[in-house]
């Protein structure tokens, strides 16, 4: 009897001492990449999971950017949130003032990974840096470029689009008058990004005071003073003269270009995949046009970054850091860039792609990177840090649309847009007093 007891005791002790194999830690990532991009994200997770066995990255598609944010907020309030969340670039201040995030730099340092943060290309780095730290991990970044139908331009007697707006205007009018196409240019859905923000950055004019909000509280929109007004008057001219088409809902503006109906479109470089897959004509791309006397600064980024949310165990954060490390690898970056059309976010990745001769095959893919790295960034081209810019944009676009449709004079429309935008900024400051 005693023997039996003794053997049971030692067996139990032995079992206790044998460490069971560690189950891999699951790390959820909530994102907004639907359709074909969803498959790319799954592939990325696959690659990471295969490269090591301690962590399993589990991407969860939560709808569009708005859906992801709302899901995240609901989950956070109920303490059921994931450690990683993809939020678009204009959500920077919202995330920062949430008090719910762990800065990426801190996370990586704690986990002992060495990241060369200065290798991130300038517009990406400046957008997400505060107090010397990268707050989020850049993920999918893009910038707008000009896609054009080379066949249409040739038929109208032009080699390629001119590099300045006045000259391009003349070309577009010629294309229209000669009957080459019914629609010389289609207006993109996110025109606040390309026609308002990026225009201001490239032309080196302030969009808002306090260095576009980087200097903190008290910024005011000022895009109603200066050449942006003239630019929107130009757009109105295009619209009234039938040069520019509004795609509206039910069809993607990019699709009107791909179908060969519209001769040009200002669209994100990430649209490359769609254009390559669908365009049945000679297409090409070039830099965004500038004004004649333009300093031609760099354009700014769009897209999203990965934010780390507080409230999980240390083990999980080690895994998050491991994933970020993997994401920042040259190899991963080059693969992601080629597979999706988003730009490589590190200089090293860009150089590697160049060395591989990728841009000899696909020269248009390089335009975005070059445009982002062009010249020395000025205070007006480092990006935007304006509170609740999603909300402000709804109001701004509504007002400027009224101007474009002739419901009020363009200057008044811009003034009203600025007025409503400033209301949003003041409210954001009231809610988040003292947080940033």
């Amino acid at each position: 009897m005693l023997n039996l007891f003794r053997s049971c005791f030692f067996a139990a002790l032995a079992l206790l001492l044998i460490q069971p194999a560690q189950a891999a830690t699951t790390i959820e990532l909530w994102h907004a990449m639907s359709g074909a991009l969803n498959e790319r994200v799954d592939e990325l997770a696959d690659k990471f999971n295969k490269s090591q066995s301690e962590y399993v990255l589990k991407p969860v598609l939560k709808g569009g950017y708005d859906d992801v944010v709302n899901s995240m907020i609901a989950a956070y309030r109920a303490r059921q949130h994931p450690p990683i969340v993809q939020v678009n670039e204009r959500g920077f201040l919202t995330m920062l003032s949430s008090g719910a995030i762990l800065p990426a730099t801190e996370l990586m340092e704690k986990a002992g990974h060495k990241i060369n943060w200065s290798d991130f290309i300038a517009p990406v780095a400046t957008y997400f840096t505060k107090d010397g730290m990268m707050m989020a991990m850049p993920f999918n970044s893009s910038t707008p470029i000009l896609f054009y139908n080379a066949d249409h331009f040739k038929a109208a007697g032009f080699d390629k689009p001119a590099s300045t707006w006045p000259e391009l205007e003349a070309q577009l009018y010629a294309i229209s008058k000669k009957g080459v196409s019914k629609c010389a240019m289609v207006f993109p859905a996110d025109w606040e990004w390309s026609f308002l923000e990026n225009y201001s950055a490239i032309e080196d004019v302030p969009y808002a005071t306090k260095r576009n909000g980087f200097d903190g509280v008290g910024a005011e929109y000022v895009f109603n003073k200066g050449r942006l007004v003239g630019h929107m008057e130009r757009v109105k001219r295009f619209l009234d003269d039938g040069i520019l088409e509004l795609a509206g809902q039910g069809i993607n503006p990019g699709q009107l270009f791909i179908a060969g109906r519209c001769s040009t479109v200002v669209n994100s470089t990430a649209a490359h995949a769609a254009v390559e897959a669908g365009a049945k004509f000679n297409w090409n791309a070039t830099f965004l046009p500038t004004e004649k006397d333009s300093p031609a600064k760099n354009s700014t980024i769009g897209g999203a970054a990965l934010w780390t949310l507080k409230g999980h165990k240390d083990e999980v954060y080690k895994g998050v850091a491991a994933f970020y490390n993997f994401l920042g690898n040259v190899e991963t970056q080059v693969w992601w860039h080629k597979a999706t059309g988003y730009v490589p976010v590190t200089q090293a990745a860009y150089e590697a792609a160049k060395a591989q001769g990728y841009y000899k095959d696909k020269p248009t893919r390089e335009i975005a990177v070059v445009q982002l790295a062009r010249g020395t960034p000025s205070d007006n081209s480092k990006g935007f840090r304006l509170g609740n810019s999603a909300q402000a944009n709804i109001a701004i676009k509504e007002e400027i649309q009224a101007g474009l449709l002739g419901q009020k004079p363009m200057q008044k429309a811009m003034d009203d847009a600025v007025g409503r935008g400033n209301e949003v900024l003041r409210q954001f400051e009231k809610v988040n007093a003292g947080k940033y």
Partner: protein, 331 residues
């Protein structure tokens, strides 16, 4: 929708229904209670009543009242969406709405939208229900077709309608252009409003049709036959008999359509016009979502929800008071 009654209710010739036999001597309190939605003859078992109500009330408590309270209380706060900082601002959010021109524009848009939607929906559904009730052949086929839009998710319905009427590529837009109409919902607020009314009505006609047809089918054949014998044609029978017996259903549908227009049309508007151009089709409910979901302005969104709720309740109450008085429940 109505239960069967006695054929002698048809008074032959005068074209009106009248109560069978001598008028019932109803005690005053019963007449009142019938107006307040209580049967004349009730059961006396109070405990049972509470028991029967309990399941619905409990579910409502946990998943409607408590969450709604927590959502609406934000109307009196200025809060950060993550719940980190909350300041009490009393009626500031509501006052801001009162001063906001875009908000009043949304109110106007809502009134126009809901009225147009209700008229279009009920009109078309009544017409279709009459026709479906009248024909003998092919009823099932027609019915299936007419009910299908209700099966389509609102977002998809919106996308398809937006595509069909898209001035650049839409087939129906193309037809309109060839007919000389310069159709462009991206530029003309009136066109955009027409588009959202059409798309929303399309989905709601099925619902109305279903209940109207049910109501028509429930009209007792005996009354209709008696009228036919007296020489009333199908249209006359419809107008004099069926319509008046349909009043409970019509009342139900008026309220439902109205609630639909006020509260359930976000997805369709979002998919067809996104509230544009320049805010022309931004109705109150669209603004609630826009401000709540996209702008994360929870205080303003909650304040707007309160206004919407109060308005809807007030209007419904009025409808109950005045319209229900005309509803003939008993024959």
């Amino acid at each position: 929708m109505q239960a069967s009654t006695d054929a002698s209710a048809w008074d032959g010739g005068a074209g009106r229904l009248r109560p069978t036999g001598p008028p019932r001597a109803l005690p005053a309190s019963s007449a009142e209670s019938e107006q307040r939605g209580l049967k004349r003859s009730t059961f006396e078992n109070r405990a049972l009543a509470y028991l029967l109500l309990a399941p619905q009330m409990i579910v409502l408590l946990f998943f409607f009242f408590i969450p709604s309270f927590r959502a609406l209380i934000q109307a009196f706060q200025l809060s950060d969406p993550f719940g980190g900082s909350t300041q009490w601002v009393g009626l500031d959010n509501l006052a801001a709405l009162w001063r906001s021109a875009p908000y009043w524009a949304a109110v106007r848009a809502t009134i126009v939208f809901t009225l147009a939607l209700s008229v279009a929906t009920l009109g078309v559904a009544l017409l279709l229900a009459f026709a479906a009730h009248h024909v003998l052949r092919g009823q099932t086929l027609y019915k299936t077709f007419i009910l299908v839009p209700y099966a389509v998710a609102p977002a998809i319905a919106g996308i398809v309608w937006a595509f069909l009427f898209n001035p650049a590529v839409g087939p129906i837009a193309h037809l309109l252009h060839s007919a000389g109409i310069a159709w462009d919902p991206n530029r003309f607020p009136g066109h955009a409003m027409t588009l959202v009314v059409l798309a929303s009505a399309w989905k709601q006609v099925s619902y109305n049709f279903l209940f109207l047809l049910a109501g028509l089918l429930a009209v007792p054949r005996s009354i209709l036959e008696a009228a036919a014998v007296d020489g009333a044609g199908p249209i006359r029978r419809f107008v004099s008999i069926s319509l008046s017996m349909l009043t409970p259903t019509l009342f139900f549908l008026v309220v439902i359509n109205f609630v639909y227009g006020f509260f359930d049309t976000f997805a369709v508007i979002d998919a067809t016009t996104r509230g544009g151009p320049a805010g022309a089709t931004t109705t109150m409910v669209y603004k609630v979502y826009q401000d709540g979901f996209v702008s994360l302005d929870l205080g303003s969104s909650a304040a707007q929800s309160i206004v919407l709720m109060v308005l809807a309740l007030a209007l419904t109450f009025v409808q109950f008071r005045f319209l229900e008085a005309r509803v003939r429940y008993a024959v």
